[in-house]
């Protein structure tokens, strides 16, 4: 009987976090629509822009969600993104490499990061934080080794991809009463497909469930006959691939490579995952939650950009505060669980 009472609290714990997140997003967005109605915040395109400007982040955050479910972390993703943008720019502009080959190389770089980091974490049992911290510095440094100058991408095919738009049947009317359809670029389509694939993978594939089992209790997972090391390695490889793909999408947005690019992106990705209900201690998290985390991050930055006078640093500070808030809630829920036992 006593046990039942405690269980209810526990049950609400994780679902509760996601609920907060969705509510928070709704409140923020609606508040933005009301406050900045005159600045076009209520237009459908504004909402789609949340996806447009964060497509890369969304894919990267999905990768992070995967490693975080195993109880790990990856802070190299920002640097990997910068490196990939730089490699794409350098290969296409300076080396004259075929666009498709360049993209392939970019994706392979992501996978290579995943393989090395995954090996160190899974098989050598080194703290993921240290490993990916090294990865973070390595990626940023390699970017600088390729070029310390900014390289703009002028490759025709690449720009064609970047500027392609899928028009929506809905939209808004401008001042002259002309209908302007809302649109999304291919990056958004890819990102959304990735979210769906990862969601299915995590829910309906053995691999996905193994990730949760490892995050829930690594020892138990081992005792139940799961190959913990290999699964963790695969998780980091997949995470690396998604970082590569995300970096490519990011590049389609920025169309340039430079050393300082995507600085702090790892923080955005981690915050998005955590705000979306992924537990830092592992075992809990979904790509859908992460999607909402990314949307919150997007809303904060578009609110601040729309507001106009606040420095862009506020985006990161508010995001940090939000992350802090969610971390504290997680910690409180965890200690409540412990006490209940």
């Amino acid at each position: 009987m006593k046990a039942n009472g405690m269980q209810k609290k526990k049950m609400t714990g994780n679902g509760f976090l996601l609920l907060i997140t969705i509510a928070l997003f709704a409140v923020m967005y609606i508040a933005g629509m009301i406050i900045f109605a005159d600045k076009g915040f209520a237009k459908p395109q504004m909402f789609l822009n949340l996806f447009v400007s964060n497509a890369g982040l969304l894919v990267i955050a999905c990768g992070l969600t995967i490693v975080m479910i195993t109880g790990g972390i990856d802070i190299s993703v920002g640097s990997v993104t910068a490196l990939i943008c730089m490699v794409l720019a350098d290969l296409m502009e300076n080396k004259g490499v075929n666009t498709y080959v360049a993209v392939l190389v970019a994706l392979l770089i992501g996978v290579a990061f995943g393989v090395v980091q995954g090996f160190l974490v899974a098989y050598l049992d080194i703290q993921p934080f240290i490993v990916t911290l090294a990865g973070m510095f390595f990626g940023r440094g390699m970017t600088a080794i390729i070029s310390t100058d900014m390289i703009s991408i002028k490759n025709e095919l690449f720009l064609k991809w970047a500027n392609f738009r899928f028009y929506m049947p809905f939209g808004s009317t401008n001042k002259k009463g002309k209908f302007i359809p809302a649109y999304i670029p291919p990056t958004v389509v890819i990102a959304v497909i990735v979210v769906i694939i990862i969601a299915v993978l995590l829910k309906y594939r053995k691999f996905g469930r193994k990730l949760y089992a490892i995050g829930g209790n690594r020892q138990s997972a081992l005792m139940m006959g799961l190959n913990v090391k290999r699964t963790m390695f695969q998780a980091y490889v997949l995470d690396g691939f998604l970082a590569g793909l995300g970096g490519f999408l990011f590049c389609l947005n920025s169309c340039a490579g430079f050393v300082e690019q995507a600085k702090g992106l790892e923080m955005d990705a981690i915050s998005s995952a955590v705000i979306g209900g992924t537990l830092l201690s592992g075992g809990v998290g979904t790509p859908i939650g992460t999607l909402f985390g990314v949307l919150i991050k997007g809303t904060i930055s578009s609110l601040i950009t729309t507001q106009g006078t606040l420095s862009s640093w506020w985006v990161r500070i508010i995001l940090s505060l939000l992350l802090c808030f969610f971390i504290v809630i997680q910690s409180v829920i965890a200690s409540m669980k412990k006490k209940a036992k």
Binding site: L120, D125, L280
Partner: protein, 351 residues
């Protein structure tokens, strides 16, 4: 007999850091034969080696804080670079009274320094609270300030680079009067001495090690684990603040984007190179100090080889990975397994 002596030397705590330092120095001497030459130009000491020791000062100060944090909490504080920027921003903003560039102090330097150190202590306390009280992994907890810190520093300086063109302000990063030795060296030495004395004259060192090795047992013998962990983060924050002031004095300005940039990596590297286990527990302050000078020597060497500042992290990242691999249990077991096989083979051969 000889073998066991050799083994004793190689297994000593300071063996790795000293060997690394010697290796880097040798490399330098081969590349630049006048590496150890020290001369006096314009009334100050001049030479490669002086440059290394001078430039390493901030890193030494950071490495000390990082060592304590690592020992007590088994994790690293990756926000130290950002805290440096915050301290520099606070200090310069008070001195300039909000102007972009000043030729004389608008407020007392003492107030400015105290405020800067308070700000950095506050940052340390924030990290400490998250780690010690809420039991959040150190790296995740400090990631918050790692990203937000520079933003806060930007806000403090209103996004500008604040210049303090006052000679006395330049002293901390330059020279005091006619003294030929760069001041940062004194900062480093004094900080090391103070922390060393604190550890020596109180039981703090033993407390930190106990908490880092077995927090539960430490609590049962009457130690306040939470408090001790918290304290190490505050100390680490304050030390980062001192380093930040020195760094900003060097360039007589607060550049929120560049002060202490990438230094967290160097500090972690110094701790690891110093023979300290990154998982916490027993630590060697001197090891970390040697580690810090090694890193700086390495940096200087790389600069001499025309490696740009932005590219340095590549090499350091590789060194970090090598060190943590060597430290990892799995690798050690693997090596031990190889050795065992070899000795079995040798024995078999003798039979």
């Amino acid at each position: 007999m000889n073998k066991s002596k050799l083994k004793k030397i190689t297994s000593a705590r300071l063996f790795l850091p000293i060997v690394c330092l010697i290796a880097v120095l040798l490399l330098n001497v081969i590349k630049t034969p006048d590496f150890f030459n020290v001369s006096i130009r314009n009334g100050v000491l001049y030479g490669y080696i002086i440059d290394v020791i001078n430039r390493a000062s901030e890193l030494v100060i950071l490495a000390i804080g990082m060592t304590l944090v690592t020992a007590a909490s088994g994790g690293q504080d990756i926000s130290v670079g950002a805290i440096m920027a915050v301290a520099a921003a606070v200090c310069c903003q008070i001195l300039s009274g909000g102007q972009v560039s000043v030729n004389e102090y608008q407020n007392s330097i003492i107030i400015a320094v105290i405020a800067a150190l308070l700000a950095s202590a506050l940052c340390g306390a924030f990290n400490g609270f998250l780690v010690a009280r809420l039991n959040i992994q150190p790296m995740v907890a400090t990631l918050i300030l790692y990203t937000a810190g520079r933003g806060i520093a930007q806000l403090v300086t209103n996004g500008q680079i604040t210049y303090i063109r006052v000679d006395s302000f330049k002293m901390a990063g330059g020279y005091i009067g006619k003294c030929p030795i760069p001041t940062p060296i004194f900062f480093a030495i004094i900080t090391v001495l103070i922390v060393y004395l604190i550890l020596k004259k109180t039981a703090l060192g033993l407390y930190i090690e106990s908490v880092g090795i077995n927090g539960k047992a430490a609590r049962l013998v009457g130690l306040n684990s939470t408090m001790i962990k918290f304290l190490t983060y505050v100390i680490c924050g304050v030390l980062a603040g001192i380093a930040g002031i020195v760094a900003s004095s060097r360039i007589y300005s607060a550049d929120a984007n560049n002060i202490g940039l990438n230094l967290e990596m160097d500090a972690i590297l110094a701790v690891a190179l110093g023979g300290n286990f990154l998982g916490g527990g027993k630590f060697s302050l001197i090891g970390s100090v040697i580690g810090a000078y090694t890193i700086q020597a390495l940096t200087t060497t790389l600069y001499a080889m025309n490696v740009k500042a932005d590219q340095l992290p590549v090499y350091k990242a590789i060194v970090v990975v090598i060190i943590v691999t060597l430290q990892s249990d799995v690798f050690k077991k693997y090596i031990a397994g190889l050795k065992a096989k070899k000795s079995v083979a040798v024995e078999g051969g003798q039979k």
